[in-house]
Every structure is written in structure tokens, then in C-alpha cells.
Symmetry: C2
Subunit: 151 residues, 2 copies
DNA sequence: CCCATTTCATTTAACCTTAAACTATTTAAT
DNA sequence: ATTAAATAGTTTAAGGTTAAATGAAATGGG
């Protein structure tokens, strides 16, 4: 068939690509981390606040789906955001099991400020790639990332 | 220069690519997780064992550099591997601050078995991409993970 | 209506992860 | 040789992360 041969090549390429992708994720995260953590936000908290800023109030279930994290994890991160006075939990009047999480004014002004610095740090982290490469990377990662919550 | 206009486009593309890359990393990790955790190894433990299998005994410093993790993290993961009888710490005779970590026979046979299943799961996780796409993805991620340089 | 099932959120245990402070050792400068 | 600085590893505190078990509310079939 000849597929054995090319299959081996692909296997090696996959292992290589996966290592590179993992390392790229860690490297970029470490580069953008200071832009977020200087404001006493963790990366996880930042991710939730940014989502609320751009999408409006969301249930914890939806938040969990969008960040691809477990329900218990969402509880913990939101607990800490509530403790710090940045968000509020509201009971969903249509389903009393559900908690709608909403930005409070202090949380909103904080995330607006931090988000701008985060974008700048991200641009620096991506300096090694030109526009075309960034677009190709996005397209390939999208293809790879589908399969769970393809929103 | 006209860079303002294209700069805005690139900014948007970067934000998009970063989200996609992060999600791809989480998605692939979740797909390969069962192949590793069925053997009562965590993903972090698997990463260290695989490195020792393919590179031989290493100091904790080198391990930390290769997995891009903090010194304290390396201590914790190796502590648990030592506790489970999979690896051993040896004092480096040339530098008594340094601990060389070495696979024990049980650890070796375990990681050899698990690694094969991990590769199979990885191939399935990458099914959406063809060989050429995998190679391009690897090349772009390498460039991104280094910051500059790259092939 | 009643009961089984499903769903959203929470709790717990175990581990991962980081930054910061610390110990022990090595290296380098005087 | 003495001492200051750098380095390898450890500890601690705070938080992130998952799986699994639980409670509470909604849903659906009889």
C-alpha cells in the first residue's frame, strides 16, 4: 500500500508538532503573564473576566464550556473573583440551579485596563511571525481544536 | 508607512490565533489524557518519564529547563515518582548540589508501554490535519516558541 | 401526579504550578 | 585563602485543575 511508510513519517511529524505547540503555548503564556499578574489577577481570573467583558453575563456552565475547564474549576475561580469584589453571582430566575455571573463596576474597569496591556504583550510575543503566518497558524489550530465545544 | 492599518489587522489575527492555539492545546491534552492516566500516571509525571526514557538520566535543573517549569514544580513531580518507585535520585559526584534523576526498571517498562498508547492517541487527536499541515503547524509553533530565529 | 433521570453547581482529595524565601554548595574576585 | 555572588534544590503559601461524589432543581415518562 505504501501507507506504512508515509504513516511513519506522519507519526514523527505529529510528535514533533505536538511538542512545538505545547512549548509555544507555555512560552507565550510566560511572556504575557506579567502584563496580567501585575494587577493581582491570575491568568485564570483574567480569562473569565475577559469573557464577561466581551460576552456579557454568563452562567457558570457556559463559562466552563468556553474555557474548556471542569465545573469544579469554574466554581473555584469565580469564588475568588467574588471574594475580591470583581464579579457577582445572580440566581437565574428561569432555572434556580443556574448562577449567572456578572461583572461589577470595579471588575469592569480593571479588566478593560488589563486587557489593553495584555494585547500589547501578546503582539510582542507573536513578533516572530508575520501576518500571513499568524493567519495560517490560527487556521490550523482551529482545525486541530475542534471536537469539543465547536462554538 | 501604512502600517497602522495592517497593524490593526495583525492585532486581530494574533488574538484569534492565540485563542485557537490555546484551545487546540487543551483539546489535544484532553484527548490524550486517558491514554496516560489509565496507568495511574499524571500528565506531568508522564512528561518527565518520557524525557528520561529518551534522553537518559538528567539533573532536576535540566528537566525543569526542558519542560519549561519552575524548580519547585520539578521537585514535587519527582517526589511523587520517587514515592511510587519509578525513578531514583542520585547525588552528582561532580556537584553535590545537583541530583541526577534516573529511571528504575519498573518505571522504564511502564513508560515504554504508556508511550506507545500515547502516540496512538496523539495520532487520533491530529486526524483533522494532513501531513503537510502538521509540518507547517510544527514549523510555525517552533518559530513562535523560540521568539526569534527558527527555520 | 410521581418517580427516575438529567442537569447545574458544589465539595473534596490529590496533584500541578508559580513566586518567593531559604539551605547547601560551588564559583569567582580580591 | 576569604568572602561575595551565583547556582541547584527545597519549602511554603496561594491558587489552578481534574475526577468523583453529592445536593438541589428541572425534565420527562408512566
Amino acid at each position: 500500500m505504501g501507507t506504512q511508510y508515509s504513516g511513519d513519517y506522519k507519526r514523527v511529524a505529529i510528535l514533533d508538532a505536538w511538542i512545538k505547540l505545547s512549548r509555544a503555548g507555555i512560552t507565550v503564556t510566560q511572556k504575557i503573564r506579567p502584563s496580567v499578574e501585575k494587577s493581582n489577577l491570575t491568568m485564570a481570573q483574567f480569562g473569565v473576566l475577559e469573557m464577561l467583558l466581551h460576552l456579557g453575563p454568563l452562567s457558570q456552565k457556559v463559562i466552563g464550556l468556553k474555557i474548556l475547564r471542569s465545573p469544579g474549576n469554574v466554581v473555584m475561580v469565580i469564588d475568588n473573583l467574588v471574594r475580591d469584589g470583581l464579579v457577582r453571582r445572580n440566581v437565574n430566575p428561569h432555572d434556580r440551579r443556574s448562577h449567572i455571573v456578572e461583572l461589577l463596576p470595579i471588575g469592569r474597569s480593571l479588566i478593560e485596563k488589563v486587557f489593553e496591556k495584555h494585547v500589547q504583550a501578546l503582539e510582542q510575543a507573536f513578533e516572530a511571525l508575520n501576518s500571513a503566518e499568524v493567519r495560517v497558524l490560527g487556521r490550523l489550530c482551529k482545525k486541530l481544536g475542534l471536537g469539543i465545544d465547536a462554538t
